[in-house]
Symmetry: C2
Subunit: 234 residues, 2 copies
């Protein structure tokens, strides 16, 4: 993909912080991505669920181009470039997309919102443990990470209302966890992790999420082989 947006200077970004810019942002979205990144996957799922057109641009995180470091203060993906303005952090991108593209997946009630946002944060712990599973240098390290994953999934078991986390509508916890479930399927197939034993609610939730087109169809072709090659060199 070509590098097709013009970066604004910080002072210009400040000047453009207006409702008009938000309208521009809605019209022109580019998602800066790494091919395998679960955090990018969250943004892509929301874009697909809402039917919002966007371009995607992949970068090599081992050789980050200077323009990328200028738009991503943490040097991480995803970055969503909205009308020329970079937005970073996956949870922030998800809320931005939800605010600018109704119908909303963030609930209207402040208390319910807080519950969803907090459980979406807990998913971040799950992704940290998924990463530790992938980089484990020994069987003992892998078993520790596996147990931590199961501990976290157990906390979700009584919280899942079904069919989605919060009931009938897909929400931000579903979006947050779907990339984790999707990747666990491969790790589980390779290493027989038995993550969902004794967790019927989480297991059924996982089944529904990984079957969802917005989850399956927003990863690159040949995902499993690329993930396997990536994990092998970690």
């Amino acid at each position: 993909m070509t590098f097709s947006f013009a970066l604004r200077e910080p002072s210009a970004i400040v000047d453009f912080m207006s409702t008009e810019t938000d309208a521009v942002a809605a019209a022109d979205l580019e998602l800066i991505s790494h091919e395998l990144c679960p955090y990018v996957h969250r943004a892509a799922i929301v874009l697909r669920e809402k039917g919002v057109p966007y371009r995607i641009r992949y970068i090599d995180l081992k050789a980050k181009p200077p323009w990328f470091l200028a738009v991503s203060p943490r040097g991480k993906v995803p970055v969503l470039v909205a009308g020329g303005v970079p937005i970073f952090e996956s949870a922030v991108i998800v809320e931005y997309l939800d605010e600018t593209h109704p119908p909303h997946i963030v609930p209207a009630s402040p208390l319910e919102r807080a519950r969803h946002r907090a459980w979406a944060e807990i998913v971040s712990d799950l992704l940290v443990q998924q990463w530790k599973l992938m980089v484990a240098a020994s069987a003992a390290d892998r078993e520790t990470a596996r147990r931590n994953v199961v501990d976290l999934l157990q906390r979700f078991e009584p919280e899942v209302r079904g069919p989605w986390f919060a009931g009938d509508a897909l929400g931000i916890v579903d979006v947050a966890i779907a990339p984790a479930f999707f990747r666990f399927d491969y790790l589980d197939r390779w290493w027989n992790l038995g993550l969902y034993e004794g967790l019927p609610n989480v297991g059924a939730w996982r089944d529904r999420l990984v079957a969802r087109p917005s989850v399956r169809e927003t990863v690159i072709d040949g995902f499993e082989e690329k993930l396997r090659a990536y994990v092998a060199q970690l």
Copy 2:
């Protein structure tokens, strides 16, 4: 302080997810805290800035009571118990308090909101490095953490509009970073870290934030001695 709120069962929490519960939550707030925690400090600053009455309850994180683990899935503070319903994660608590207690410190524009939320997330990296400064086992480790702190502060330098992060009104980035600045003052006094050299915008911002009553007056009495004793045993 006494343990004075009744915990609801998870199923009851679900049933109470309504506008009425939000009204109850606004009326009865208890902040579960650790005496020195910067994340709790954020919630306390927002409560003070908004003039919202609340109770505070301190717990010993080295001997977490079972009732605490039942309301805090990550075993972390802060937890805000709002009308009997626990809310966790400091950023989530800040947004909840802002949504339920106008005037709002989260901006109305989605793009501006996203910018504030993302920079508030970067403050979390700063708090991680502050922690590494405190637990450093050697002069070399401390110097590494110090350099990482300075690198992060440098990223803020061109972003601070003044007098506060985003201009004339205190916002969520100010709330997020104030506890970090407040604690750096002590670490700097003990260890002469020179964190703000060559950073006039960040330095002036820090001066204003640590002088703000909502920041200074929401920590325990004898904070410096307690922080020093805590750091000594890390």
